[in-house]
Symmetry: C2
Subunit: 469 residues, 2 copies
């Protein structure tokens, strides 16, 4: 059957591009209330399209913010039910003056579509919908049951996603999530995203006096909040860049031989990776960069400030200083425990006479791991091997993927990110683009993938702990 | 003769208060161009008054900014010529809403005059002028030759003072400067200001990549500019608070027994000094606070910033961080050499892969010292002993006094600060005030002081190096 679907998609190519063009022309910027009319326009556009292709129960799922668009096709009893995730909202276009063509007037140059949202993630969302459409058009059926869930708040941090899932928990019952968001690591080398680091954050500030002091009147006999802040921040890492917080690595799982092999399998040019941003290598010794980024935790100060920061000088001894800190966590680490360790470190390194305040502690998503035995992974391996003739490398993300954690926690299911966007496509920046070539590859990939998933029994989707790597 | 002058001043007391009131009503804010008409008004007011009291050659000395007001009385041939320094400009009144009475409507409460500029420094400037006026009114002569120099840019950092002195160098030729600015350390205990620390400043910034990096994509394998900045700043002091810059103390002159005695002579409550601002003691070991503040150098970071400092979090690895640094210097230290040592320290502590930029290096005033043998000091000792029955303590300022350095450098003469303002009078803040009691004390003090100065031959005012302590 799949060949007919692929042929259909091939024949539809120009129409698909045209529909993507229409979708990209809707300036669905979720961050700016001025665009709310266009958010509504995007929802109506998608709902209409879902109905048009034969989805049922098409509706908006409202969690109190920008509603998600939902549609289902459940005509394959006994087959697994897959939630297809995408999002229709896009980043603001600023700085508008740096765009070479208007952000909401899609323009093709050099085989790429330039438009806000082209890569993140209207392109890959369109791929997913068009594959479902093709199956229903060609044979009136999909290889799996499908629930389409298109979020409208991904770019604003999904503030009401939890509400939506909570409110429509029964509707959203599925066996797994296939995400159009979360792209490929490389255009040439096939990869499967099998995990992500978790995260957590806190802020802290120090106070050394009840006001800024004049350096002529106090300089040489009192503590300076900036000196204290600097000493605290410097104490968080050792000279090599390893984290010096007591117990920080204690529960980190050792890297397994399989993880080492997987990491090494992905071609990665360390020199180019660093050289592209003029950075130098610095971090926990004994690991290659890809291991440091995906299998080892990190801790960074994201902002630090205190005292006078305007033009010229001001001869003060600042009395307060503040910093924002985030951690990236790996399997074995509990975000709350780790943040407590960091807080404990700061307290124990804070000298008498300095008051330390810790605030805005926020335990983000935990690290996530897809078992190699999970049908999402095995199906992806099969598809990518058939398509490229190469064994896909299992790669983990250094970043955190909140939706993956939310779906796992609230729906109890795993997510595979299977978007066709690539890392260089200037998402969140001017002149965002999506490669037209990726559309053809994505349409083939997704159609094969749904078919492959349909071969697994529903029971295969529940991942017992023992299968976890 | 002095008794008649003192009697005259006593009789004039209400008229003097009335003239001070008039002076304080002129909102001569130098920082804000919107007040320039009032700067002019203040100059005309002062010029008129100088003429009225019998000063000659009254004129404005223009250096390209707010002109200084000048007047002279040179009717005492053979006697020393003293430049009386004051300034007629005041700080802006912001934050206006915190004033209990309008800043430019002088109001008497609890024996104090509340008004912007009352303490800094129209009060003490009025004292100086009224004493000259009294001498001329009573006897048609002063005990010394007098050149009055009233600056209009003290509160904006004296940007054209150098120009003015350069342009009117011959007119400003004097034997010493007596400043109405720079006040008393205590209302109860007589003190003489015999020196000040010098200063210098620089800014520095570090760069670790060519843009902020995403902590998910790079966290754990690259340098973070804020970590590097923290490590650099932390390296500037040891754990006790002593400066760890190589060579920083090398040329600092040892504290002499006389300096130790002088410092100890001034009653100083360390606990109250720190307690008042909720600070704790921290600094170079082996010295009491007054020694740390006036006879030992200090180094402070005045501002430090980098990365994201807004609301919420941002998961970046900042690529740049910046800091502002100032030093307070003592006798023996050359500002340029010291700043070079700091720069050298930063460079040598900056690891490979981090680029360091040093900017806005500015060598401020050097430390200054008035010899105990200088007539300004000896005359002050005599006056204060006669007035209080106590030996005045020689005190040094921890701050820097740019005009003292400018007069020394450009005119080759020493300055004694002999203002009658006190440290608690909220200068530069809302509800600035000046004690009415200080006016009576100041009028007596200045009249005695001019008389005492008149007893010294001109030759006594040149301070050979050997007299320096």
């Amino acid at each position: 059957m799949n060949e007919r679907v692929v042929d259909f998609l091939h024949a539809e190519h120009d129409n698909i591009l045209s529909r993507l063009d229409t979708f990209l022309r809707i300036p669905s910027v979720s961050a700016d209330p001025a665009y709310s009319v266009h958010m509504n326009e995007a929802r109506q556009h998608l709902a209409e399209r879902l109905k048009q292709i034969g989805m049922q129960n098409v509706c908006e799922l409202d969690g109190g913010g920008e509603a998600a668009v939902y549609g289902e096709w459940l005509g394959a009893p006994g087959k697994p039910t897959i939630l297809i995730y995408g999002h229709y909202d896009v980043q603001p276009e600023d700085p508008i003056e740096l765009w070479k063509s208007p952000p909401f007037e899609p323009t093709v140059r050099d085989g790429c579509i330039f438009a806000r949202g082209a890569s993140d993630v209207k392109g890959s969302t369109t791929i997913a919908l068009e594959v479902v459409a093709a199956y229903l058009a060609v044979s009136g059926a999909c290889p799996v049951n499908v629930k389409v869930f298109l979020e409208g708040e991904e770019e604003t941090g999904s503030p009401t996603l939890g509400n939506i899932i909570d409110r429509y928990r029964d509707l959203l019952k599925v066996d797994a999530v296939l995400s159009a968001d979360g792209g490929r690591a490389s255009a040439d080398f096939p990869t499967i995203n099998t995990g992500a680091r978790g995260n957590g954050q806190l802020e802290f500030s120090v106070r050394t006096a009840d006001k800024d002091l004049h350096s002529g009147r106090y300089g040489g006999c009192v503590r300076n909040a900036l000196h204290e802040m600097a000493t605290l921040v410097a104490s968080l890492h050792d000279v090599n860049g390893a984290i010096a917080v007591e117990g920080f690595y204690a529960s980190v799982e050792d890297i397994t031989p399989r993880q080492k092999t997987d990491t090494a399998a992905f071609p990665f040019d360390e020199k180019a990776f660093l050289g592209d941003v003029a950075a130098s290598h610095h971090g926990e010794p004994g690991f290659i960069i890809r291991e440091q980024l995906t299998l080892r935790p990190s801790l960074d100060i994201n902002g630090m400030w205190g005292g006078y920061t305007g033009q010229g000088g001001k001869t003060i001894i600042p009395n307060t200083a503040s910093a924002k800190l985030t951690v990236r966590l790996v399997e074995g680490q509990n975000s709350s425990d780790v943040l407590q360790q960091v807080a404990q470190h700061l307290h124990s390194h804070c000298p008498a006479g300095v008051s330390l305040e810790i605030s805005n502690m926020f335990c983000g998503a935990p690290a996530s791991t897809l078992s190699p035995a999970h049908p999402l992974v095995r199906a992806a391996e099969t598809v990518l091997f058939n398509e490229t003739g190469r064994q896909a490398a299992h790669v983990r993300l250094g970043a955190s993927v909140p939706i993956t954690a939310v779906f796992k926690e609230m729906l109890g299911v795993d997510t595979l990110m299977f978007g066709y966007n690539l890392p260089d496509e200037d998402v969140h920046a001017p002149n965002e683009f999506f490669r037209i070539k990726s559309i053809g590859e994505g349409l083939r990939g997704w159609s094969l993938f749904l078919e492959e998933l349909g071969k697994y029994p529903v029971s295969a989707f529940s991942t017992p702990e023992r299968l976890k790597q």
